[in-house]
């Protein structure tokens, strides 16, 4: 097995005033890999994602992308493949500009990077829509005409426009209905297999993370408490906090859930 590493976060620290939001966070992402980043609200998982994207501050530490430090470098100042790091956000309603058509939304990154003129970029729109299984006539419509799942597909198509090698996904399915969520997750997996893109998949939901990740990092209070193979973390966690997190999520099986509830109470009782 090769040691190729796409992103290497070394002791990343972020402070907002007196708040120490990220404390010496270290994490690696290999090419074509999904790293799940799990934590509760306020754990710092979104802050780490934003730091990698270049839209959030880094107070100390390095984020190496293919060996180049990109910590604190704004997206428009990034060069080469680092310029193509993309994002899919949680809320499909606020992540698309309501006054732009889908086509305008999709060609904007291409035109902004000077990769093609607007008319050349338009030719790519059909391919992008096809990649996320939306019909070509979606191009001339406005975001408000789509359902939540369809909007998230548009957001994924926008992320794919620059042929990125890394997409930071911040809770991309948590606003979606159950059946939609499963289909959008499968789309993420299909796209990864077809293009070899890597994901940093930020979520509060361990079952979602288990479904899509190769490796999983668990964050709490700005620190990574556990980072290992997916099966290890989501089935046999070593850290107490991960165990709590795992047992807290109710499963859709009354008998098993009763057992888990008892185990969760027992674990809570120990502390």
């Amino acid at each position: 097995m090769s040691d190729a590493i796409l992103v290497d976060c070394c002791n990343v620290n972020t402070r907002f005033g007196a708040h120490h939001v990220l404390k010496d966070v270290s994490l690696t992402i290999r090419p074509g890999e999904t790293v799940g980043l799990v934590g509760e609200s306020g754990s710092g998982k979104t802050t780490l994602g934003r730091a990698i994207l270049g839209i959030g501050p880094v107070s100390a530490g390095e984020i190496l992308y293919e060996g180049t430090n990109i910590a604190g470098v704004a997206p428009r100042d990034r060069r080469g493949n680092a310029a193509a790091i993309q994002a899919v956000f949680q809320d499909p309603y606020s992540s698309l500009n309501p006054s732009m058509t889908v086509e305008d939304i999709l060609i904007e990154p291409i035109v902004a990077r000077g990769l093609a003129s607007a008319s050349e970029a338009s030719a790519k729109v059909n391919t992008l829509l096809d990649q996320v299984a939306l019909p070509a006539d979606a191009a001339q419509r406005y975001p408000r005409e789509f359902s939540g799942g369809q909007r998230q597909r548009v957001a994924i198509a926008r992320a794919l426009a620059l042929s990125p090698r890394l997409i930071v996904c911040d809770e991309p399915v948590s606003a979606l209905d159950l059946s939609t969520q499963a289909r959008v997750l499968d789309l993420f997996i299909d796209i990864q297999q077809a293009t070899g893109v890597a994901y940093l998949f930020v979520s509060h939901d361990l079952t979602v993370v288990r479904h899509i990740s190769h490796r999983v990092a668990v964050m709490r209070n700005g620190e990574i408490v556990e980072f290992d193979e997916c099966d290890q973390v989501t089935a046999n966690p070593s850290h107490d906090y991960t165990k709590r997190l795992l047992l807290a999520a109710p499963v859709a099986d009354p008998a098993r859930q009763a057992e888990r509830r008892a185990a969760f109470r027992a674990l809570a009782g120990e502390h």
């Binding site: 090769s2 074509g32 500009n97 408000r144 939609t180």
Partner: protein
């Protein structure tokens, strides 16, 4: 199973109607637009329309009555009033345009910068704006007139600067409203420059209120300009409406009619600008919503009030419940024929995806439908009494006392202006009729009962001082404070972290058995259903597709929709194996 996700057959056709057309379809908007068009055309074609030169004097027509060649009479110097009125529209519109353009350019640009960047730029620009607003506009204009001379246009430039804070404040507030939208982050990630983001993603989105403001400012500019001219400022050689007003005023006892014409011209033009602004605003605010009363009331099926005897252990019995909201094409059902039964001490799960009608069903039972919503058919028997058609006052008595509610968003259901204690004590005093001291004692007991570590401190806290999980415990304490028979919980743990969710579910379960409450738990999460419920009703498109005991539902779901939903629950036994992509796949 058809894939709704990837076909556009279910896409809502949105009217992409033109704003201009929509405004013209409004009678006020149409009248205002026509009048403004007349004024503009008059200004442009003044030399062709005007019967006389505005400066020609006819000595025998001084203060002449209308008629005899001068359609609206002559002014104090024997000039044709109509011709001067027509030419006057030119300077009026030009002056207003100058003021609006100056005010708009300065105010909008500064507002965009202050709103988007915030920080020091915002502080400095806000100071400048506040300073300008503190200056009395008319006095400043008079002072400038002294130094700069008699050009009314120069005065309007100065007035434009004085008006710019109105654009600044509006723009800045609008930008603050949209700058944290995720599409702005997405644009930054895409590598757009700040200027491009500000123009494409900020200005384009907030343009409508600015257009409205422009129309109003144009009206103000015309009034002020006329006022200045009336005071005698401005070039006496140019015919202006304000100047005509002054001329007519000084001859008021000789030719009282003359003051009407410039007065009409000013009023009609200003009123048109303001009405146009209102028409645009109405159109934008209206959206696709339908006001109650805009469509005829629904046909309420004449259901006789049910009073049949139900088995003793049935607390709630809902039959054929229909709930509808007004829509463009008439009343639209969101709940269409729901029947369910809840026994005493039972926990019923109401589960479905968004838009399935599960929350509307719960709200109909609570009597808390959103504005416009109506129960159009069916009955809700609560403890043997039909509560579907009860007047609001009667429903109000039931809510909080016998039927309690726990909402999804704990924070938005607490009033930030009042301490937690007050918000718990007040309802108890009103509903139970107990003394303040007694209510306070009970509130503290309840806060301890719902597992808050320091009840005294929580009692004294404001909502912003506690976490979301604590806020939900406070609301649960409030809900059980009056010993309800029925608790309706609408996604009570959806907004909470997963470990907090487990604790809150534990609490709800304990309280349910302790108080022997019946519970309706509205949720989309089958894990929560498995954790809490005795029976489950699965909803789709406003109807219940199946109601089962919880064990049976998970063991052998009958309806294909239930099977599809359960099949979507992620429960992977195997995880993915990492394979490094071959180098050839990676684009150069």
């Amino acid at each position: 199973m058809t894939d709704h996700e990837t076909s556009l057959s279910n896409v809502r056709p949105v009217q992409r109607d033109n704003l201009a057309l929509a405004v013209l379809s409004n009678p006020l908007g149409l009248v205002a637009s026509v009048l403004l068009a007349v004024v503009f055309l008059t200004a442009i074609f003044a030399p062709l329309i005007a019967p006389h030169s505005p400066t020609t004097l006819q000595i025998f027509k001084i203060n002449a009555a209308p008629g005899d060649g001068y359609l609206l009479g002559g002014d104090g110097s024997g000039r044709d009033v109509l011709s001067r009125l027509i030419y006057g529209s030119r300077s009026t519109l030009a002056g207003a345009a100058i003021a609006v353009v100056v005010a708009g350019l300065l105010g909008i640009a500064a507002g965009l910068v202050a709103g988007y960047y915030g920080g020091r730029r915002d502080i400095v620009l806000s100071w400048v704006s506040d300073g300008l607003m503190a200056l009395p506009a008319l006095i400043v204009l008079l002072a400038f007139y002294q130094t700069l001379g008699s050009s009314i246009y120069l005065s309007m430039v100065v007035f434009g600067i004085m008006l710019s804070p109105s654009f600044f404040r509006l723009t800045r507030n609008l930008v603050n409203g949209v700058k944290n939208e995720l599409y702005i982050d997405a644009a930054r990630v895409s590598g757009l420059s700040d200027l491009r983001i500000i123009i494409r993603h900020v200005l384009l989105v907030i343009r409508a209120p600015i257009v409205i403001q422009t129309s109003i400012v144009a009206g103000i500019a015309i009034v002020i300009q006329a006022g200045l001219e009336f005071l005698g400022l401005g070039d006496p050689g140019t015919p202006t409406w304000g100047g005509m007003l002054q001329n007519a005023f000084s001859n008021m006892y000789v030719a009282p009619l003359a003051i009407l014409w410039p007065g009409f011209a000013i009023s009609i033009t200003v009123a048109s600008f303001v009405l146009l602004a209102n028409a645009i605003r109405d159109r934008l605010q209206q959206g696709d919503r339908v006001k109650p009363g805009q469509i005829p009331p629904p046909e309420v099926a004449a259901v006789p009030v049910r009073a049949e005897a139900l088995p003793e252990d049935v607390l709630l019995d809902v039959r054929d419940l229909k709930v509808a909201y007004p829509a463009k094409a008439g009343w639209k059902d969101v709940v269409s024929g729901v029947s369910l039964t809840l026994r005493r001490g039972e926990v019923l799960g109401l589960v479905g995806e968004s838009g399935s009608g599960k929350t509307q069903t719960a709200f109909a039972i609570l009597g808390l439908l959103s504005e416009g919503g109506r129960i159009i058919a069916g009955s809700i028997l609560f403890d043997g009494k039909d509560i579907a058609g009860l007047p609001e006052a009667e429903k109000h008595k039931l809510r909080g006392k016998r039927i309690a509610y726990v909402p999804q968003e704990p924070m938005s259901n607490l009033d930030p202006a009042f301490r937690i204690g007050y918000q718990l004590v007040e309802p108890m005093v009103t509903v139970l009729g107990i003394s303040k001291a007694e209510a306070r004692r009970r509130a503290l007991d309840l806060l301890a009962r719902v597992g808050l570590p320091d009840p005294e401190r929580t009692f004294r806290s404001y909502p912003h001082q506690i976490s979301g999980g604590m806020a939900q415990r406070v609301l649960i304490a409030g809900a059980i404070s009056c010993n309800p028979d029925l608790l309706i919980a609408d996604e009570p743990t959806t907004a909470l972290d997963v470990t907090v969710q487990a604790e809150v579910l534990d609490l709800l379960r304990d309280l349910q058995s302790e108080f022997e409450m019946s519970v309706i738990l509205v949720t989309h999460n089958f894990g929560v259903v498995a954790d809490m419920c005795d029976r489950v009703a699965v909803m789709k498109d406003g109807a219940i597709v199946e109601t089962r005991d919880v064990t049976d539902l998970f063991a052998s779901p009958e309806h294909s929709y239930t099977r599809m939903l359960l099949g979507s629950v992620l429960d992977d036994s195997k995880t993915r194996t990492y394979v490094q992509p071959s180098v050839a796949e990676v684009p150069a």
